[in-house]
């Protein structure tokens, strides 16, 4: 059982055994290696079992139930429908809308939110009076729970008596309808997401920036590089790994976005802010079509999986070089 956890091990056994005959001196080392593997396997076992039970098994169950028409009530599903749920799903204009909203939010995050976070991070890296205070203030929204953030902003952006419209009123401007208007809801939602999450990205950029040796920027400055050129050719390339990871986290977050949307708009008005996770919840818990909801969760899972793998393969490749997960010695 121990040996099966390490695919490379069985093939190496004969060679090692042969080696033992030739050089009896290494027998102790080999025994130590085997013991090491046993120890690793035993340490892995509890985590692996929990991972299988709580992560792998539910995923497989979702794949299974997604091929049934099932209300989720009274025992296992019986009405097999094949890929019917999926064909229905891709003909559903609400779901196609979900994909579009996801794409818009991802694009806005990468183009607006992350550069903003980067800018503020670099600003807060300068010598600045009250720097620690600003860092704390900008990071604070990230600590709030999604639910509290959502409730807070439904109040601030309320079309009738909200703070935002009151302030606009002082300047003689007409209040917006924010979440209540189909054309502004997605942008308003993105505003809330930015407020909530930019602090997190700012902190990782800040950490990344502080990992860049001072000598490099100083050397560039001595060579006569302007501030912009230092940023463009020294800071930015060296921040690359951090930026790539933050883009990754931001996109995965946008694909799974649920809490904020559910509490603020429930996907409305008329589905114009609905995300995949909201549609899934709606079908699973309000319409009792658990089979169909499973199909949505499977599509979400596949999108996330394909994206994560492709991103690691093509974008994070250099950053992962030498990391333990690459198993350099196996190549």
């Amino acid at each position: 059982m121990e040996t099966t956890t390490e695919p490379g091990a069985p093939s190496r056994l004969p060679a090692a055994a042969a080696g033992r005959k030739a050089r009896p001196a290494s027998a102790g080392a080999r025994g130590g290696r085997l013991r090491g593997l046993v120890t690793i396997a035993l340490f892995l076992l509890p985590g692996l079992v929990l991972f299988c039970l709580l992560v792998v098994a539910p995923i497989l169950v979702a794949f299974y139930t997604s091929t049934f028409k099932w209300s989720g009530l009274g025992g296992p599903p019986t009405e097999f429908v094949g890929l019917d749920n999926f064909t229905r799903l891709f003909a559903n204009e609400v779901f196609l809308g979900d994909l579009w909203h996801g794409a818009v939010l991802i694009a806005l995050s990468v183009v607006v939110q992350l550069p903003l976070a980067l800018g503020i991070a670099l600003l807060l890296n300068q010598r600045l009076r009250g720097r620690a205070f600003y860092r704390l203030v900008f990071f604070a929204p990230y600590i709030l729970s999604e639910a509290i953030t959502a409730v807070l902003f439904t109040m601030i952006l309320s079309p009738d008596q909200g703070l935002a419209n009151q302030i606009l009123g002082i300047f003689g401007l007409d209040g917006l309808e924010w979440f209540a208007d189909q054309s502004t809801v997605l942008v308003a939602l993105f505003l809330v997401m930015t407020w909530k999450y930019f602090g997190f990205h700012m902190i990782i950029y800040l950490a990344g920036r502080q990992g860049i040796p001072k000598e490099l920027t100083e050397a560039a400055q001595i060579d006569g590089a302007s501030g912009w050129k230092v940023f463009r050719f020294v800071t930015l390339p060296l921040l690359g790994p951090t930026i790539r990871i933050s883009i990754f986290l931001s996109i995965i977050g946008a694909i799974q976005l649920f809490d904020l949307v559910w509490i603020i708009t429930e996907g409305g008005p008329t589905h114009s802010s609905e995300t995949m996770a909201v549609t899934m919840f709606e079908f699973g818990f309000n319409r009792f079509q658990v089979g169909y909801a499973s199909a949505i969760s499977v599509v979400m899972f596949l999108i996330s999986l394909v994206f994560a793998l492709a991103y690691q393969r093509f974008v994070l490749r250099r950053d992962l070089e030498g990391a333990t997960t690459v198993m350099r010695d196996q190549r």
């Binding site: 120890t39 035993l42 340490f43 076992l45 509890p46 079992v49 929990l50 039970l53 209300s71 989720g72 009530l73 009274g74 025992g75 229905r88 439904t154 109040m155 309320s158 079309p159 009738d160 008596q161 909200g162 309808e177 924010w178 979440f179 209540a180 208007d181 189909q182 809801v185 708009t265 429930e266 409305g268 008005p269 008329t270 589905h271 709606e282 079908f283 699973g284 818990f285 309000n286 319409r287 009792f288 079509q289 658990v290």
Partner: protein, 427 residues
């Protein structure tokens, strides 16, 4: 060896955690009475607010005092969280011993799955309740739950705002109603408050219009044939579109929730809108979410439509009741009987938390607004359950969704009848 022991301990912990997840159903699970022995009855309700919260707590104490061997485990769950929680529990193939239900399509699904007890045989008990109150729980000639509350939807209006617009009496027909909306707008008053985000308040308009145009039969027929493309439903959509085209709703209504400080009830309760179409609970929510408008508040039934088949005395609404889990002990029935007997239920009615469901209980209603509703209900010549409960859940939600799209102007009356039909056929 140490790692073995450690993993064993982790295993044990994992099993405990998983075991804990599955153990939320009834503890004994035996479907028989266990006379003398200690029995626990789990009671799932949505009474997280006063006055019902206290009414139930007191009732449980009284019941336990009379039956020392029975313990009632009171599990009050917030309304919106209740349905997902019950769904998760029933997925394990079990239902709580006594649990809140609204009847209709959801209860039917649960009954079909063998999760609830069939109470039809106890005719003496069922005979105590009014027909309107029982309607929601009687499916295919069988009774699956006992009513505890009943109510209906109608227009709640602000008398002083009506007077301001020069309207002397509530409208009796849809044409007069549209006329009054125009008058209110002309007087600078927001005619109607609506919670567009919540969707369900919008479906009341479409459902009532369909009832008034096609009659109760049209709704029943559509439910049976799964076809909502009949002219009555298209006309209902057209009439509702006429109203929406007048732009009668408050600013930002598409994003408004029902009971938040800037929601439908608060807008009405703060005197910023002249009307809302809402159930019997409207006055209490108006004064908890907003200030409440006191004596200015009035009630009129949904107007008739010229040439329509429905009568003004046909009511649209629903209530709340309790079903008993299929595996519940006999003591669960005993508890529910106690909760719905005339003395105990009268206390609940007197508290203002529920309306009469027992025959001859009308005089217990103290609140003047609720008393109007109770009178309308006892004089009702027909009763239609909320569509999102009468039909299977998916159809009900589609009705809510589609009507919201109609009101927002993104779908036509024909398109929504097609969308609803499509969902109904796929069920």
């Amino acid at each position: 060896m140490k790692s073995f022991r450690r993993s064993a301990a982790l295993w044990a912990a994992a099993v405990l955690i998983l075991g804990g997840c599955g153990g939320t159903g009834s503890d004994d699970g035996a479907g028989k009475s266990s006379a003398g022995a200690k029995v626990t009855v789990e009671f799932w309700n949505i009474a997280t607010n006063e006055p019902l919260k206290t009414v139930f707590a007191t009732a449980i104490k009284d019941f336990e005092a009379k039956h020392p061997n029975i313990t009632i485990k009171n599990v009050p769950i917030e309304n919106d969280a209740f349905k997902p929680k019950l769904t998760t529990t029933t997925q394990s193939g079990k239902a709580p011993d006594v649990f809140q239900t609204w009847g209709g399509g959801v209860l039917k699904q649960q009954a079909d799955a063998g999760l609830v007890k069939d109470l039809t045989a106890d005719t003496a008990w069922i005979g105590n309740f009014t027909d309107a109150a029982l309607a929601a729980y009687q499916l295919d000639g069988k009774t699956y739950a006992i009513p505890h509350d009943i109510g209906m939807v109608g227009f709640w209006y602000n008398k002083s705002l009506f007077a301001k617009a020069g309207i002397t009496e509530p409208p009796g027909t849809w044409a007069q109603f549209l006329d009054d909306v125009t008058k209110l707008k002309g007087a600078g008053v927001t005619p109607i408050s609506l919670a567009g985000k919540a969707k369900w308040p919008g479906h009341y308009y479409w459902a009532y219009l369909a009832m008034r145009i096609g009659g109760l039969d049209a709704l029943k027929q559509a439910g049976d044939s799964k076809d909502f493309t009949a002219p009555a439903f298209v006309q209902a959509g057209q009439s509702l579109k006429q109203l929406a085209d007048l732009q009668p709703f408050q600013k930002g209504f598409l994003g408004a929730a029902y009971d938040t400080p800037d929601g439908e009830a608060a807008t009405m309760g703060n005197g910023k809108a002249a009307m809302e179409l809402m159930g019997q609970w409207a006055p209490s929510v108006q004064s908890s979410a907003g200030k409440g408008i006191g004596d200015d508040l009035g009630f009129f039934p949904f107007p008739t439509v010229d040439g329509g088949k429905g009568a003004v005395t046909e009511a649209f609404g629903g209530g709340g009741g309790f079903a008993i889990g299929a595996t519940a002990p006999a003591e669960a029935v005993e508890f529910l009987k106690f909760l719905t007997d005339s003395t105990e239920h009268r206390k609940a009615v007197e508290s203002g938390g529920v309306l009469p469901v027992l025959k001859g209980e009308d005089d217990a209603v103290k609140d003047p607004n609720l008393s109007v509703v109770a009178k309308n209900l006892s004089g009702a010549t027909g009763f239609q359950l909320y569509l999102d409960q009468a039909y299977p859940p998916a159809v009900g939600q589609q009705v809510n969704d589609s009507v919201a799209e109609l009101i927002a102007g993104t779908k036509t009356p024909e398109q929504i009848t097609q969308a609803i039909t499509e969902t109904a056929k796929s069920e």
